[in-house]
Amino acid sequence: MQLSRDELLGAYRRMATIRSFEERLHDEIAKGEIAGFTHLYCGQEAAAVGVCDHLGDDDFIVSTHRGHGHCLAKGVEVKGMMAEIYGRATGTCKGKGGSMHIADIDKGMLGANGIVGAGAPQAVGAALAAKMDGNGRIGLSFSGDGACNQGTTFEAMNMAVVTKAPVIFVFENNHYSEHTGPAYATATSTDIAGRAEAFGMKAWRANGCDYFDTYETMREVLDYVRAGNGPAAVELDTERFYGHFEGDPQRYRGPGEIDRLRAERDCLTAFRRRVTEAGLLADADLDTIEAEVARLIDEAVDEARAAPAPTPAMVLEDVYISY
């Protein structure tokens, strides 16, 4: 189905925002500006955006430690996220969560998660809540090829099938679980979707570095799940441009691997080539978006730097609602 000009511009803006956000974090972390562990989503933008462009605020997603892209694609506000990663009181989570724990319930973003595989059953629960309401909302779990080896993921897939939960398991296979390749760590390394099929659910496979393939595949998946057919799974073949965490020396990469990935598998480049060659958008349209996004990220960093740190008294806040 042909996307409108506005839809194409929006998709590119969302992918470019993730790319710019992450590239900037990479630079600022190298300067020592940001504390803690940060896991960048660069390279996988088409996956998050191609999936979330089908979702509304009242659909629920759960995410991973590599969650910035999912948050931004689901509509979590850029400046709040940047302030959170800077550990500021003005952050999305008031500096209590940081990079790995950004959530925005009003946007249907139920939480990034520092525990690999923990989100899958939570997506099932959100889906069961939606099923109770019978309003066509769905739950969706983003996880990677690492999380596909966690028992929680298996439990969640089985329970989703037996309860007919309207939930989608999205497996972003970026070919690295931390510092280990699926050829070693994943028994069915070339076919994670097949695991979902083994649980009795329908599964799709798509090129997660291609916005259009991901988007069109997800349209079918969403139609299937929203129609009440129970759960489904999608395996997206994608690439991670940076290390597992910032500071990872990446000695496990092959010679020239990252240069090759950036040359051959960059989802923004592929998007640009496709829409300009088809005459749907001009290079200038996309350049304008990139300039606007760069300004937004500059502002977000400036504001985060200037924002107040949380006060020591805030340690005691938000443990309980009442105690």
Binding site: P121, A127, L128, M132, E155
Partner: protein, 336 residues
């Protein structure tokens, strides 16, 4: 008032809260029982009879009989709660927290805090716990002390049918996650239960016996043992102030301290192993906050630091008992 057993009070409370609030749902293994069998749904009705008939009334969307997948049960409850529901998850045996600890400890307990207070997770996890049935090391444990050490959850332990109703009603309506410990040996205990809406706020201890010589603090199954010990000691003119703390988190420190200020002597009876236990926590709290009032070192009556054994003789030797409590009271009274 209606006379009923604790298990009936729990079932009736769940039923009435589900009628009252359409967001309340329940998940657990065999809570319907018989699904996918020749006997059909409700062939069992929950092995503890605390969910009998709920599926028939509320259907499969709200009464979710699950596979044996504790992480998925608790994880689903967490996700449903973030999505606006009030799930009640049943762990058939509290010992199974080992299987799903991450979903409790890293997930449910931390959501509100790590999301900067912008979420709530009103999950009730019902954990069936405790020794006395020769159920051996993996089906007998009192794991509430371990869970009490966890910030972000509330820990509740009813000992009477009335408390079961009042505390479970509060648990279901509470906006924070609650771990609700039900002792299997107490399910058949009968008592008067107030009719209609009945809520007991957390953090308020119940005075079980009044006495002036020694304070006995107990919780769960241990309360009944402390009462028996107090009855025996009363025959010798020894007055025990017996306190059922009802919730280990939050803890009613004031009730304990007020009593110790009066008696000067403290015995804490706890079914969990002694190290880092609720008993140790209460003794430390009293030593810190009422040191001047103490006439003797606080004493603990707990099992030894071992797993729960199987054989009758071993399990009896393991568990606290009225004679062990009597001995502890006499020793703190004898201290000079």
């Amino acid at each position: 008032m209606t006379r009923m057993m604790i298990r009936e009070a729990i079932l009736e409370t769940i039923r009435s809260e589900m009628r009252r609030d359409p967001t309340v749902m329940m998940l657990g293994e065999d809570i319907v029982g018989g699904m996918g069998t020749a006997g059909g749904p409700e062939a069992i009705g929950g092995i503890w009879s605390t969910s009998t008939g709920l599926w028939e009334e509320f259907g499969s969307n709200r009464i979710i009989d699950t596979p044996i997948s504790e992480s998925a049960i608790i994880g689903s409850a967490a996700g449903a709660a973030l999505a606006g529901k009030r799930p009640i998850a049943e762990l058939m045996f509290a010992d199974f927290v080992g299987v799903c600890m991450d979903q409790i400890w890293n997930q449910i307990a931390k959501f509100r805090y790590m999301f900067g207070g912008k979420s709530k997770c009103p999950v009730v996890i019902r954990l069936v716990y405790g020794a006395g049935f020769n159920a051996a090391p993996q089906h007998s444990q009192a794991v509430y002390s371990m869970m009490t050490s966890m910030p972000g959850v509330k820990v509740v332990m009813p000992t009477t049918p009335a408390d079961a109703k009042g505390l479970l009603t509060q648990a279901i309506r509470d906006d924070d996650p609650v771990l609700f410990f039900e002792h299997k040996a107490l399910y058949g205990v009968k008592g008067e239960v107030p009719d209609g809406d009945y809520v007991i706020p957390f953090g308020h201890a119940r005075q079980v016996r009044a006495g002036e010589h020694v304070t006995i603090v107990a919780m769960g199954m241990m309360v009944g043992l402390a009462e028996k010990a107090a009855d025996q000691l009363a025959q010798d003119g020894i007055g025990c102030d017996v306190i059922d703390i009802r919730t280990t988190s939050p803890l009613d420190e004031e009730a304990i301290l007020d009593s110790v200020e009066m008696t000067g002597r403290l015995v804490v009876v706890d079914e969990s192993p002694p190290r880092c236990s609720v008993a140790a926590d209460i003794c430390a709290m009293v030593a810190n906050k009422a040191f001047a009032a103490l006439k003797a070192p606080p004493a603990m009556v707990t099992p030894p630091h071992t797993p729960v054994p199987f054989a009758r003789e071993l399990e009896s030797a393991y568990l606290p008992s009225p004679p062990k409590i009597v001995d502890a009271v006499r020793s703190v009274l004898a201290y000079r």
